[in-house]
């Protein structure tokens, strides 16, 4: 079969979605299928298929599209820069995808609702279309707005044009697909709340390539852990929705109680300067280090005593699964998809979301007991190795594909 995995967003970024696409493509290819990955190159703003030369420069059509939308009787759209930007850009993406070609595939698996909606609008024949929801677009837009307007409520966001726009793309993208694929019960509930019927949704959890993980895990991470200190770790993007600012506040409180710990924050993102500044303000220079991006996260996890997933919203973060597979005691926010990954007191701990005091208490408790850390880490590792393998994810996904072919 010829299969297209397509995202409206940046194919060139690192992160969970690109990992998912690569791993799924690799498995499909080993089973004899031809797989293309389509998306946008952020650096050049071109639509492209990975490994192919042809590219479509969105900038060749964007001026015309923007001019047309600006002159149309669409006052609400024109008054909202975020909606104007995405609407203009997604039509340019549609044109690029159409020129590169989408009608030659036997099945198309969109990785976000905007891609699903775009693809449905340009298809010239009936091709099975699946859409994966790796998160909630509307809620991500909300957290994006909240990073600038901290008191903005969800209801206020949804009643504005930005909120209406993102909600429409989310619903219409799910409606455009033949089946909706999700990894968590949380995101399934979100999609059903929007009006998509349950019979259209399939749940297949993400998986980890355990063998590849263990190979990386076996490598010694070059940075030594300071002697006599327990290591708290976070790995992932430094964006508002990931809640690392909550972790920094919690560490500020923890430092007042004890100093037998350090924290490595591994990753990069737009919030880095803010987090570094706040860390300095809280006097955490000796306790918190920002390591930037690294190549081998499993080897770093080997040094960790505690892993924190402080996200405001996350469907099923790979970073948390990897920490559990590394046998590290994990504590995550009790919000959205994260509680489905942790059995409280058995495979990890949960803290009240967006609550630094609750996180500080949780960290304090874990620091107090090496026995509890070992117990939680071991149970989590066994559970992930038994229930969250890449093979299980592939088999589940292939079963969904088979419903449509």
């Amino acid at each position: 079969m010829k299969i297209l995995l397509v995202t409206y967003w940046w194919l060139t970024s690192v992160g969970g979605i690109r990992t998912y696409m690569n791993q799924l493509a690799e498995r499909l290819r080993t089973h004899g299928h031809e797989v293309d990955l389509m998306g946008t190159d952020l650096a050049t703003n071109t639509v492209y298929v990975a490994g192919q030369e042809r590219r479509f420069a969105k900038d060749t059509v964007l001026p015309l599209i923007r001019r047309n939308l600006a002159g149309a009787p669409l006052p609400a759209l024109q008054a909202c820069p975020q909606a104007m930007a995405i609407e203009s850009d997604r039509y340019a993406f549609e044109m690029g995808a159409a020129v590169l070609g989408v009608n030659q595939y036997d099945l198309i698996h969109a990785q976000d609702p905007i891609a699903a909606l775009c693809i449905r609008r340009i298809l010239r024949r009936n091709i099975p279309l699946i859409v994966s929801f790796h998160g909630s677009l509307a809620r991500e837009g909300y957290y994006d707005s909240r990073s600038v307007h901290p008191n903005l409520t969800w209801a206020e966001f949804r009643s504005g044009t930005y909120g209406k726009h993102y909600s429409s793309l989310e619903y219409l993208g799910a409606e455009a697909a033949d089946l909706v694929l999700v990894s968590s019960g949380w995101i399934k509930g979100i999609i059903m709340e929007s009006g998509i019927p349950e019979h259209k949704i399939r749940q297949v959890p993400y998986g980890v390539d355990v063998q590849a993980f263990l190979s990386q895990f076996a490598v010694e991470f070059p940075k030594p852990k300071p002697p006599g200190k327990r290591l708290i770790m976070y790995t992932g993007r430094l964006e508002y929705v990931k809640g690392v600012h909550i972790l920094i506040e919690a560490l500020g409180q923890l430092r007042q109680a004890r100093s037998d710990w350090i924290c490595w924050i591994i990753g990069d993102g737009t919030l880095l300067p803010q987090l570094q500044h706040r860390s300095m303000e809280l006097g955490l220079n000796q306790n918190v280090e920002f390591l930037g991006r690294i190549d081998n996260i499993p080897s770093a996890l080997k040094k960790a005593d505690i892993y924190v997933q402080p996200s405001l919203q996350d469907t099923q973060p790979f970073s948390l699964t990897e920490a559990q597979l590394a046998g590290v005691a994990c504590i995550a926010a009790n919000a959205t998809g994260m509680p489905e990954m942790i059995q409280e007191g058995v495979t990890g701990r949960l803290f009240a979301p967006e609550n630094p005091e609750s996180l500080a208490d949780g960290l304090n408790r874990l620091l107090n007991s090496s026995h509890e850390r070992r117990h939680l880490g071991l149970k989590a590792k066994r559970w992930v190795a038994a229930h969250r393998t890449l093979d299980q994810m592939y088999q589940g996904t292939w079963k969904v594909y088979q419903e449509l072919i």
Binding site: T60, P63, P73, C80, M95, V99, I122, H165
Partner: protein
């Protein structure tokens, strides 16, 4: 490729045609796009606009 003129080309995509004077356009690229888009393709997407504009 026989290059079409604007009125046969991208004006057909736009629900509210506004022309292109003063805007840089590449006719070859736009004709390539036109050859690959399905019949009835329209900008803006009416379904999305009904959510935004009410």
């Amino acid at each position: 490729m026989e290059l079409k003129v604007p009125s046969d080309l991208y004006n057909a995509w736009f629900i509210y045609p506004g022309g292109s004077s003063g805007t840089m356009v590449d006719y070859f690229i736009l004709n390539t796009v036109a050859e690959n888009l399905p019949e009835g393709y329209l900008i803006p997407d009416a379904k999305v606009m009904s959510w935004i504009e009410g």
